[in-house]
């Protein structure tokens, strides 16, 4: 499974980068995220509940930030694991100033195993893209709200 995309934030890169490392922010913006905790510096564990048409699944997630260069780039290595299968992968994002905001580019690769792997990979890619987009929009809204407080 391959993902890639971009997103524009109204907040500057420093604020976006800090938010990506804040468990409270991650809990609020990741779709279906029920818990998240920093178990070591730049290492997070959490639980995500995905409610999809015809399928509901709870996933344990373990993610580690690697190759961290604040506020420009970082990689996320991790594993998502549930009854419907596992996804192991790595994603990298780059932040660049864009006016008073930030332009984010991201790309990632994941290996799907278990029952989930029976789905068309294009289907899984589209779903992952949709969930990432929803999370990034929520992050943008949260940062914009903080800016006005």
């Amino acid at each position: 499974m391959r993902i890639q995309g971009s997103h524009r934030f109204t907040a500057p890169p420093e604020a976006v980068f800090a938010a990506v490392r804040d468990p409270a922010v991650l809990l609020a913006v990741i779709p279906g995220c029920e818990q998240v905790a920093e178990v070591a510096p730049d290492e997070y564990e959490g639980r995500i509940l995905l409610r999809l048409p015809g399928a509901i699944g709870s996933y344990r997630t373990h993610v580690r930030l690697v190759d961290v260069e604040p506020p420009v780039r970082a990689g996320l290595e991790g594993r998502v694991e549930g009854a419907m299968g596992t996804v192991d992968g790595r994603a990298d994002f780059v932040l660049a100033p864009a006016g008073t905001g930030t332009a984010m580019d991201y790309r990632g690769d994941g290996r799907i195993a278990g029952p989930l792997a029976r789905l068309d990979s294009r289907f899984a890619e589209r779903l992952a893209g949709s969930l990432i987009d929803q999370g990034l929009r929520a992050l943008d809204a949260r940062l914009a709200m903080e800016d006005h407080e």
Binding site: P53, G54, M84, D120, L127, L131
Partner: protein
């Protein structure tokens, strides 16, 4: 893990109570035509399932200038109603008799592309979705219901209870292009509702299905067509904009390139149909 509990509530309050009691891990189904294949294949592994077929949501009734369609009304019921021919046609072009007898109108809103033919027609009809939750009912336009591919604005403690379809005057059209004539997933689905005055388009709603993450309105094409007399140049421009605005995914039915191309072709054809002209080849 297999299904350990199946609940069959007899009312909406009972269904909401069960949803509150068991939380978001309770899988809600209606006709089961989306969920059951996934469960039988072992792709979806819910522990607890709630079916809404007995919850009293299966009525299709006219109320003043609206048609109220219960969320668990079947597609066969839609085929049989005479108030909105566009919905009858969209339902009749969906899947097979056996599936239409089980599949529900509410369920069609959750069917990922290339499904959702009825949802596409409902979008062209400016339908609204009634949602019930612990805090009561709320109604949202269908344009605000979908938030992405397979994701909706429905909260985890809410249920879709009905769909309200305004009975507006106007011309309607529905075109579904599949690999076969019947019982086929769509390459592209287009639905339209237009009001015309002396051949001039006063208002138009164009909805596209199967070629986007969820059914979408083709707002740029609509803006070009509104106020025109559907002249060939206008139709050409609208079709080109529609193809640009499609966001299709490739699957076993069609490539994304082909779906985009067919979006232009079928938007052109539906506009020619509304104009009362025979279709030209693209």
């Amino acid at each position: 893990m297999t299904v350990s509990s199946y609940f069959l509530p007899a009312s909406v309050p009972e269904a909401l109570g069960l949803l509150g009691e068991h939380g978001p891990e309770l899988l809600v189904i209606a006709g089961g035509t989306v969920a059951m294949p996934l469960i039988n294949e072992g792709i979806s592994l819910p522990g607890r399932v709630m079916g809404l077929r007995r919850a009293g949501l299966d009525r299709v009734e006219r109320a003043g200038a609206e048609l109220r369609v219960g969320a668990t009304a079947t597609l066969t019921q839609l085929v049989g109603q005479g108030d909105v021919p566009l919905l009858a046609e969209a339902a009749s072009r969906t899947a097979s008799w056996s599936v239409r007898n089980m599949a529900t109108v509410g369920g069609n809103l959750f069917t990922p592309p290339p499904g959702g033919d009825v949802a596409t027609a409902l979008l062209a009809l400016d339908a609204r979705v009634v949602v019930a939750g612990p805090a009561g009912e709320r109604t949202l336009p269908l344009t605000a219901f979908w938030t992405g591919f397979m994701t909706t604005a429905l909260a985890s403690d809410e249920l879709v209870t009905s769909i309200i379809v305004p009975l507006d005057e106007g011309r309607t059209a529905f075109l579904k292009f599949g690999r076969r004539r019947a019982n086929t997933p769509a390459v592209v689905t287009v639905a339209a509702h237009a009001t015309l005055e002396h051949d001039r388009v006063v208002s138009i709603r164009l909805a596209l299905g199967a070629a986007a993450p969820h059914p979408v309105r083709l707002t740029r094409a609509e803006a070009v067509v509104a106020g025109s007399s559907l002249e060939p140049a206008v139709i050409d421009e609208a079709a080109a904009l529609a193809a640009e605005d499609a966001d299709p995914v490739a699957d076993a039915v069609a490539s994304d390139w082909y779906r985009r191309r067919m979006t232009g072709v079928f938007v052109r054809r539906i506009l020619e149909q509304l104009a009362g002209r025979a279709g030209r080849d693209a």
